[in-house]
Amino acid sequence: MATLFDHAIRLGDDALILGQRLSAWCGHAPMLEVDLALANIALDLIGQATLFLKLAGEEEGKGRDADALAFRRDVLDFRNCLLVEQPNGDFAQTIARQFLFSNWQELLMMEIAQAPSPALSAIGAKAVKEVAYHARYASEWVVRLGDGTEESRRRMIAGLDWMWRFVDELFDPEDGASSLRPAWDARVAATLRAASLDVPGPRRGVLGGRKGHHSEHLGHLLCEMQFLQRAYPDASW
């Protein structure tokens, strides 16, 4: 049975790692407007991560705050799902990741907003509004790219193809999130239909993120994200 600490650290790590990933688009997006939108989403996620990790630190009771958990943990101690640590790739691959994740996260946050722990439910209630926008934004891009030019369609399919094997982990029965699957399937299928894209066929899901078994990508991400706090602990300016 997962404790409140386990729960908070998973949610916090999901948001933190995806927030960091998306931040890498800043200054590189295809259009200024898209640049701002991705940075906004990244900031929403990092804000959620701060709240979830703070709660995790309090639950743990060892004096670690959100910064300590974010910047002074090693890769094996991260509990994010594998989906969020996947590389940005091209814009379509980033959108594919966001689309699959945000639709899941929105359903999850709706559930968490009703959680028995008041600390957890307050974060869920705040996050659900932000995430609803992320899901809408990503879904609309899936339709635009899928139903756009030959090239955008090819890239969208490739992006979904890359990300699809990490979907099963989101609904791992060990996390108790398997009940969200039918609603998620329905949402994703509806958007893909509007984009005239096929739902990718079933494939063997890759699991392990929740136990700390990460892909090589996460270590590189943490290198960059944690560098400053590692090199200059407690630096401030």
């Binding site: 590189h28 295809p30 259009m31 200024l32 407007e33 898209v34 701002l36 939108a37 906004n40 809408r136 934004y137 609309e140 635009r144």
Partner: protein, 103 residues
């Protein structure tokens, strides 16, 4: 940046949209700026992300810039200068009650 923003000609650029923000209920929408977007929905989202991220508004309008007809600066004299000496058109002879913020 994409080819579109390297100025390969107007055909590769997304169309421009003018953004109007209503700061709070009861006030009118005010022009805030413009965004590039491929369709109206994308324009609304870009406007939301660009112009309301610091709680500037409660409502947004986006209008294709091409739908706006502007006055000709060359006609400025005929259009606007005749109003210059007609101060009686200003409601400056009324006293505004204390506490009224918008009139």
């Amino acid at each position: 940046m994409s080819k579109a923003s390297k100025g390969e000609g107007p055909a590769r650029e997304w169309p421009l949209w003018e953004v109007f923000v209503r700061a709070k209920n009861g006030l009118s929408h005010k022009h805030a700026g413009s965004v590039h977007a491929a369709d109206a929905r994308m324009a609304l989202e870009a406007a939301r992300d660009t112009y309301t991220r610091r709680m500037e508004g409660v409502s947004l309008w986006v209008v294709p810039s091409s739908a706006i007809t502007a006055s000709d600066p060359g006609e400025g004299a005929a259009l606007f200068e005749p109003a210059a000496d007609k101060i009686y058109r200003h409601p400056t002879f009324y006293t505004i009650p204390d506490g009224v913020k918008n009139i």
